[in-house]
Symmetry: C2
Subunit: 132 residues, 2 copies
DNA sequence: ATAAGGGTTCCAGCAACTGGAAGGTCAAGA
DNA sequence: TCTTGACCTTCCAGTTGCTGGAACCCTTAT
């Protein structure tokens, strides 16, 4: 399989696949003409990576998860640990975003959005964090 | 005011303030010795930027908001537009993260997290996206 | 005189790609 | 046979918003 096929079948852009090879996540063989030659297992790995990235795991997490995936002697505790950690981070991000959104939507709601210059959004940004 | 004072009073790291000057968000004067000399209005601008960044606005949004802040002929509609746009993006991010979290927390919940190798998390990453 | 604690510049690096340039390879059509 | 087009290759630069570090200057106190 050439990179184009793998891209189509994995859903990952060819650029990304090359990048993943660059950082050592996959090691496709090479045809005599220099083209990358992917086997089914490479494709499988890439699909794994695509799904892990889709869940927001960092590349380093992905690398570790992949190692565990291929390590018969892994323990599910190791995997769960990574996942739980990531889950906590996601929760934190959500909490942050929610706070931003709450503040921001208040401001947006209070702003007339007309042709006049008065604007509670700018007023809020312009002065001390008076909560509202 | 030297940069250290402004950092303390604005809550922004000195590095960040230099960076903001670099990209043209503030233009402090200079003392004869080369030190940046901030006036109250520079501090005010930086505090504005800090708050806008704290609400997640991009640097470019911040730049535009700052222009509007200083433009007496602005309309609140322009401001609201930027803010609403940003709000939409935040909502989208939250939705994405929530979906990740839901999937991930299901997987984490199903994983024994013990010394055995069987792991629903890896199984899920390893095969087609069978929803659960 | 010197040491501490400011300040300055510039360069590199982070994450995770993405875009583009310059060029090699291959299969098919005129 | 030549050429066209769609592939593929590498390498370099840019993205976002800083952050760390090196190497150096300025000021004040001891």
């Amino acid at each position: 399989m050439n990179i184009g096929d793998v891209a189509a079948r994995s859903g990952l852009p060819a650029k990304t696949i090359r990048y993943y090879e660059d950082i050592g996540l996959v090691r496709p063989q090479r045809d005599p003409n220099g083209y990358r030659a992917f086997r089914e297992q490479d494709l499988h790995k890439l699909a794994f990576l695509g799904r892990a990235r889709g869940l927001g795991f960092s590349i380093e997490d992905c690398r570790n998860l992949l190692h565990l995936y291929e390590d018969e002697t892994r323990t599910s505790a190791e995997v769960k640990d990574i996942a739980q950690h990531h889950l906590d981070e996601i929760d934190e991000k959500i909490a942050n975003l929610r706070e931003m959104r709450d503040t921001l939507s208040d401001l947006v709601r209070c702003c007339a959005g007309d042709e006049r210059p008065d604007c509670p959004i700018l007023e809020s940004l312009g002065s001390a964090p008076g909560k509202a």
